[in-house]
Symmetry: C2
Subunit: 409 residues, 2 copies
């Protein structure tokens, strides 16, 4: 079961004017499952995105990047689950382009105005016929109130749909930010995430939107890991429909930009955390906070060494304060001149280690008390600078092995 | 059960003249278990070693390095299991030194002539009284034929003892190489291993011995991983007792050096592979071979990305040829200018992927046939140079989670 992850309430997901969503069951992997999503954008919409740095990135990632860079206004996004169209070579590229052309014909725009996204099994041909056959139903379903169904339509091994919505006041105008995401395994986003879509009805210039998507990604999807595997298909898109009736936001130094960027980043961070809470087999949600580093990069090295250690993750699964494993991970994180005598390790509010060893005041029952909780803060003070970083992750359970051993069966 | 790991036969472990071994049950973690090993060295013996690069390295590692560098001839090594004496600060250092002094008093040498090694749980005080009380029995047990018992005495979560022995002919003299090792979890040696001890009766100069231990480590213990966690206590020691009646080997360009170095490296590699075969929860032994790289370093990056991926490891556990996960790992290994269209991926003798996608000739049943085997070769051709690297690893099973969730209970 996901860790403290509330089911999104459909009536609390505010529609975003200028963004409509249509869902269909195309039978890509299993019949009768929502597996196709069309997001249609209005005339004023602008789109920005960040994508996986995996060199084996999927065909739809390559096509989506090319269409975004092509400069034509984007009119629609097309998402399928059940097949990642990754590791599929030239044939996969052709199929990704064909899905765009088919949707474009239905919507009356050019193929280059459609961005494709796929998620699911790697190394198998995209079932083009099923997707093309499913498109008319998805287009017929287009409406602004479809956010909950859209969140369901992009799930793969996710147990729960992930959707977050909030409204803010900018200069007396109500601005909406609503987003969805999917993902629970192969999660270690590198500059992007699995699939995340955050939209707003604010008007934002393209350079400001590009800056905003990067900031939001770096403080949300780029701070999570489930298993350390960076996906071939990670994509995080930020869409500004420009329908809120507010002047265009273009100055990154303006209060309007700051307000919207905060809201977008909060929505993205909640979605990213939802992915970890719904991580494959997760029973615990851990926040790894590393402080006092010489740079943010070295803080992230330490945080990810802890978050990726199978020994640390299985100890958390067992609620066993086997905290030496955390010290070992700090030690091999890759900081060559690390002085371990300066480090302090806290579990929740309990000081566990200092001066290179166990704290004199530490008692096993204090550690055990924290380890029993479903939400655990691991805090490391490096005491060698002023930088910090936070990573969110989950534990490693029997069910993680089960889910991934049986994934294709 | 370990993967194709034969139980060492005591009568096939050749004694090494000038090296005697004594075992005791000191009750460090559990009563009645062999947990203390003394290795006593003769007058002519020389010792070289490599140690963990983990910054949180254990107290005995620090003490052993200092004693080795002190320049006094080493007379004995002392190994305890059940407690790693790691993350124990200044108090741990004092306890490690005290164990050396106690053994030195029994053997009639200086404390600085004893090297200490510990393995077991981290962050708990070393039970000094139990170790000191157990030493007289270990010393009384000293004999050259004790190799099998010694291999048992250093086990922790290991299911099987690990010992390898071979004899070679150098200039008409029979030279013996016999070694033992332990380890099955927290295995990702970085310049060293868990605990490995390889001895020979050849005479080797100190510089030649130092070169030989580095070469052997780089082609054995530094090529394995179980879970990617680099231990705080990794140590690999090479001991030359000088009792074989052969002239001292000191020229690294000589045929004598080459022959001995080969034998030592083979023994070390077999011990390293034995650690993987006995990896926690292992059901399969995988050889990851990466060829055609621009450098050995980038080949190792790719090999370790595959070997560390929980998704790859669980797919092997399930005997599921979900080979897209291997492509994804290659893609995120960190080679920025990797051209995925040039890569070929083989499973055993089956070509799986080429030209950025699945090979046209690949059939799922061929992949499934290889995946059913207990020993699997994954071979990656990068086609961008002439370097290569090999890494040995195992799969990721329910039992890995079980063993590590219950480790301290």
């Amino acid at each position: 079961m996901p860790v403290n992850l509330a089911m999104p309430q459909p009536d609390q997901l505010h529609p975003v004017k200028g963004v409509s969503l249509g869902i269909a069951c195309a039978g890509i992997k299993k019949p009768g499952r929502k597996d196709l999503l069309v997001i249609r954008l209005g005339e004023k919409a602008r789109v920005a995105g960040v994508f996986t740095l995996n060199r084996f990135c999927a065909a739809p990632v390559i096509v989506a990047k090319a269409h975004l860079q092509g400069g034509k206004p984007i009119r629609a996004l097309l998402v399928n689950t059940g097949n990642a169209n990754a590791g599929t070579g030239e044939d996969g590229m052709a199929r990704a382009r064909q899905t765009c052309a088919s949707l474009a014909a239905l919507l009356g725009c050019a193929a280059e105005q459609v961005l494709p996204y796929s998620t699911g099994v790697i190394l198998e041909p995209l079932p083009l016929d099923k997707i093309v056959a499913g498109l008319p139903a998805a287009v017929a379903d287009l409406q602004e109130g479809n956010w909950f169904d859209a969140a369901q339509a992009i799930m793969t091994t996710d147990i729960q749909p992930k959707a977050v919505s909030k409204q803010i006041d900018i200069d007396g105008t109500i601005v909406t930010v609503t987003g969805i995401a999917k993902g629970s395994g192969m999660i270690h986003p590198n500059m992007a995430t699995m699939l995340g879509y955050v939209t707003t009805d604010a008007a934002v210039s393209q350079p400001a939107l590009d800056a905003m998507v990067r900031h939001a990604a770096d403080h949300s999807f780029n701070c999570i890991t489930v298993d350390g595997d960076t996906s071939t298909n990670d994509s995080f898109m930020l869409i500004a429909s420009g329908e809120a009736g507010l002047a265009e936001i273009s100055d990154p130094a303006s209060s309007q930009y700051a307000k919207l960027c905060d809201a977008v980043t909060q929505v993205a961070a909640q979605l990213a955390q939802a992915i970890v809470r719904d991580g494959e087999g997760a029973t615990k949600f851990m926040t790894i906070r590393v402080e006092g580093g010489a740079s943010r990069e070295e803080c992230r090295l330490v945080a990810y060494a802890i978050a990726h250690s199978p020994l640390v993750k299985t100890a958390f699964f067992a609620s066993d304060p086997n905290l030496g494993r955390i010290l070992a991970a700090i030690g091999y994180a890759g900081i060559a001149d690390l002085d371990v005598a300066k480090i302090r390790l806290y579990l929740g509010d309990v000081l566990v280690a200092e001066n290179g060893g166990r704290s004199a005041a530490y008692r096993e029952e204090d550690g055990a008390r924290i380890m029993k909780e479903a939400e655990i803060l691991v805090r490391v003070e490096l005491n060698r600078g002023t930088a910090d970083a936070t990573v969110w992750t989950c534990d490693f359970s029997y069910d993680y092995v089960k889910i991934n051993a049986e994934y294709r069966s």
